[in-house]
Subunit: 229 residues, 2 copies
DNA sequence: TAGATTGTTAATCGATTAACAATC
DNA sequence: TAGATTGTTAATCGATTAACAATC
């Protein structure tokens, strides 16, 4: 393995892995950089570059062995063993996450759920017990849990992050639309629907196709210059 | 406005906007690149560079006017007017999304929901009517809807994308863990929990802190070399 | 004026792309 | 051998960072 792997490469590995699994289901054993790139909308040069950075997987003139690559990626990404995970916040989003099958499939097992709503506390749903948020620290320390998922409002997200770190959690998946601050050695991944929506919105308003719509609709209110570019 | 705005800059705009709104709530009218950068974990140079790329907002020796910046960003991102949106898939995730308040706040209004489950069809939830998926095209064309949200399994995501494009939808927010292919002029944003989880998993297994844990646990099964680096 | 902070250019850094020799 | 495809280096492209003159 080479010294430093670029972040964009690392993030593409998930896509490679999933595509390879689908490819394998078709019964195919060897894949070329070209096939892999086409399926994922990348260039073949990029695929080769990425795999070259990780190690030595291919055979010149032949391609890459699908099984080898899959098992390497699984190990490399740390997906071989089950990870206990806590979920904080059992609103609409938390509920959906607890039932989301993708977690289990990737060996993330939500073992405890925390919320403030007394009506929920003590219930057992989808194999996880719902507990009072005040017990977060105690449980995480005792069970040595290292993964936490945050599905609380933006206003309390930073507080939950701080408490998670305090009790030994090292990796956090944050759904609150806020940039949370963490200390060294803690990794946070944020899923921010708001940002994605605004990204879409921006494109709708700045592509030529959409301009046509906009101008048609707002012809009177807008200055003529908006229809250009 | 300058010719080309880098994608990373565009994606940061959402964060700027939200931070500025919080800043404004405190009653503050002027913000410096330094304050803005600290709140978002960026460098002040980057903030100045980003804002410089967008236009001419600051006053040397003073800072940036918060109100001006907020209203510019709102307009620039196209958030001034309500956008009708359809949601396809009313499983756990779809349900959570329909109730998620962040959409409404950013003027994305889910007007129609589509699903195959006959028991749901005809119901009216949170202001949206649940309809049979086969009517997707008819409704989108008639209402001229341009935004679609996909909350169906990976296996049917591409088909729904194709049908959305066919009926005039231009921007798609995809939650299925798959790379979907679209034609020119269509923008897709994918929220992929699986990738985020694997990103976290990778970091847990490749940071020094986690290595200690791993080695302790797997001491016997692993070769000594895994504990280095 | 003196201090602060932006606007803007140039330097740096890092990722992607292109090209082709190596080799199956 | 001839054709295919990787491994690997160098060229290109683009974003970030640094620096400081302009100016409030």
């Amino acid at each position: 393995m080479k010294t430093k792997i670029p972040e964009p490469t690392l993030r593409r590995l998930s896509y490679y892995l999933r595509y390879l699994e689908r490819f394998k289901e078709k019964g195919l054993e060897i894949i070329s950089s070209k096939e892999l790139s086409k399926g994922l909308g990348l260039s073949d040069a990029q695929v080769r570059r990425d795999l070259f950075t990780l190690g030595d997987f291919g055979k010149r003139g032949v391609g890459y062995n699908v099984d080898n690559l899959i098992s390497f990626l699984n190990t490399f990404l740390g997906l071989d063993e089950t990870q206990s995970t806590v979920l904080v916040g059992y609103g609409n989003l938390g509920k959906a996450l607890l039932h989301y099958k993708g977690f289990k499939k990737r060996k993330f097992l939500i073992t405890h759920v925390f919320d403030n709503d007394e009506r929920l506390i003590g219930k057992r749903i989808a194999g996880a017990e719902i507990m009072d948020s005040k017990h977060l620290g105690k449980v995480c320390k005792k069970e040595m849990i290292k993964y936490g998922i945050i599905a609380v409002p933006a206003s309390s997200a930073q507080e939950i992050v701080d408490r998670m770190i305090e009790c030994g959690i090292k990796a956090i998946l944050n759904f609150a639309p806020i940039k949370v601050h963490v200390s060294d050695g803690i990794v946070v991944s944020s899923v921010d629907l708001t940002t994605e929506l605004e990204w879409l919105s921006y494109h709708m308003h700045h592509t030529k196709a959409s301009k046509k719509y906009k101008v048609k609709k707002d012809l009177i209110a807008r200055s003529p210059s908006t229809s250009s570019g």
